[in-house]
Amino acid sequence: MNRLTYKPLDLGRWIVWGGYAVLLIVAPLVFNKGASLSLLSQIGTIMIVCLSYNMLLGQGGMLSFGHAVYTGLGAFIAIHAMNLAAQGTVWLPVTLVPLVGGLAGIFFGIVFGYVTTKKSGTTFAMITLGIVELVFACSLMFPEFFGGEGGISTNRVIGKPVFGISYGPQIQVYYLIAFWLFVSTVAMYAFTQTPLGRIINAVRDNPERAEFVGYDTHKVRYLTLILSAFFAGIAGGLGAINFEIVTAENVSAVRSGAFLLFTFIGGVGFFFGPMLGAIAGIFLTVMLSDYTKAWQLYVGVFFIVIVMYAPGGLASLILLHLRVAKHAMYRRIWPALWRVVAATALALAGAVIAIEMLYHLTLESANGTEMRLFGMQVDTARAPGWMAAALLFAIGAAWFRQARPAFAAAWNRVNADIEDAMRRQA
C-alpha cells in the first residue's frame, strides 16, 4: 500500500524546507498562551528523538528498546558540562551544549552499538533491552554521575548574556530548540539521500543480499546507529537545557518505550512520520495527563488502535486522505466516512465517561462520589451516569458495526480507482 521511499518533492523542496523554518519561527507567536511554549519546546526535542529513532526502526528495521540510553546519557553529559561551565572549569556557551550531548551520544553509540548491531531482528531488540536495563542499573550504582534519586540539576543561565540571549526566558530556549531541530531535521533527511542511508534500507529489506553486493551488514547498522545516537544525544542536551534537571528516568526502558510508541504512532514508513508522532505523543502524555488520571490507558488504547488499523501511522492516514482529496474523490467516501466518524465519537464518549467514572470511583471516592464530567455533575455511585455511558457506547458501537462495511467498501473502491488512474498515467 505504501511505497517506502524517501523522495524529496523535487519541485517544492525549497518551499517545504522554507515553510518548515517559518513554521518553527511563528509557532510560539501563534500558540502564545500559558504552557504552550513549554509544550512546543518539548515537542521540538521529542521530534529530534523520534526522527533519530526512526533512522533505526523505519530506515534500518532495527527495533530498539533502548534509545533512551543515548538521549539520557547525552543529557547527563550535557548537564555535567553545563555545571562545569557554570563553575568556570570549562568554557562552553549554552548554545553548544546540545553538541556536547550529541558527541556523548556518538561515544555511547560506539560503545554499546558495537554489541547491539552485531545482530538484527529479535536478537537486536533483546540486546537493546539488556543494555537499557544495564545503564538504568548503573544509575543506582553511580550516584555521583547520575545524581541518585534526585537526579542532577543545573541552571541554564551561565555567564553574561550574549547579544541579549541568556536562555533565562523560555522563548529563548524554544528558539534554541527550534534551531537545533531544524538543523537536525535537514541533516537526518540528507542522511536518507546518501549511499549509507540507502544501503541501510537495503539491509532492512534483505540483510543477506546486502552482504552479497559487498556490504558488511554489521558495519552498516553500526554506523547508522552511531549517527542516530548523535542526534539522540543532541535532543538529550536540549532536554537538559529545557528542564534544567536530568534523572535516572531519562535512561529508562520506560522512556525508550515512549520513543518507540510515539515514532510508531507517527508512522515509521515516512520521513516526517515521527514528527507527527512527537506532536501526538506530547499531547497525549503531557496535556492529557493534566485532564485525566486515565491518560496512560488512553495512550495505550490509541497505540493499539494505530497498530491494528493504521500500521502506517498517522502519516499514512494523512497521506491516504490527501491522495483521495487530490483525485477529487472525497465526495464518494464522505457519506460513509462521516457516519463512521460520528459512530466512533459516540462510542468513544460512552467509553470515556465510563472510564472516568470508574477511575473516580476507585481512586477518589473518599472525597465524595460526585464528579464533573464534560460540564455535568455526575454521581459515580448511582446508576444514571453509568446507564448514560452504556447507552452511548452501545448506540455508537452498533452504529459503527452497521456503518463500517459501507465505508470499507467505498474506501477500497476509491483507492482501486485511484491506483487505476495512476497506472494509466504511468
Binding site: A190, T194, E208
Partner: protein
Amino acid sequence: MTGHAERADMNIAIALKDVRKSFGKSEIIRGCSLDIRKGERMALIGPNGAGKSTLFNLISGRFPVSSGDILLNGESIAGLRPFEINRRGLSRSFQITNIFHRLSVYENLRCAVLWSLGYKYSFWHRLSGLKDVHERAEAVLEQIGMKRRRDVAAGLLTYAEQRALEIGITIAGGADVILLDEPTAGMSRSESDAAVELIRKVTAGKTLVMVEHDMSVVFGLADRIAVLVYGEIAACDAPAAIRANARVQEAYLGGHAPTEA
C-alpha cells in the same frame, strides 16, 4: 588435480581443491575438485540433493567449507565472508528470489553498484549527485529490459521480472565471476528463452557458473558441463562428451540421453 594446488594458474577463475562440507554427520560435499577457466560458461547439473546449491553457497561464502580450499583468481577465499568475496569480484544470484523488496527496481540496482564504485559506507555524498552510480544503474536497467518498471517496488514485480532483477543485481557490481543459481527455475518456455538471452548478453566476457535443471538452457549456454552426483564431481566436459558419457547417463539421466528435465 593435485598438481595444480601449488601454483596458481592465471587462467583459472575458480579452483576447488578437495572441498568438503558436512552438516552434522552427513557429508553433503565429498571432496570436489574442479577448475573453472576464466571466461568460460560452466553449467553445474546433477540430480536433486546432489549438493549443487551447497557448492554455490560454499564458493560464495554463505557457508564455510569443512575442509579443502577454494581459490578465486589464484587466491584462497575459504573462510571469507560473503561481502569480502564479493569485493574480490565474485557475485551470485539465488534460487529463491533474493531482492530488496521494498525498494524500487532502480534503487535495487543502485544499491548493487555502490560498493564497486567505491562509495562504501559514505554518508557525505549525495546519492542524486553520483553520476557514475546513476549511469551504471540505468545501464543495467536497460540491459535487463526493465526501464519501464524503473520506479516500481521490487516486491510488486511479476515472478519473471523479479528473476531478471535478481540477475541485474548480481551483475550490476561488475564482478568478473558470476554464479547463477537456477536462473530460469519456474519460468515458462518463452520466459526462459528470454532469460537465456539476457544471461548470454550480460555475462559476455565474464566467467559464468550456473546451476540449471533445464537441459535446453544448459546445452544452449554452457561451454562445459560439470555433473555433481552425491557430493562428487562425476564428470566435467564439453556438452557433447557429457551427453555421451555412460557414467553420467547412469547416475543422473537414468540411461536416457539428456532432454528436457
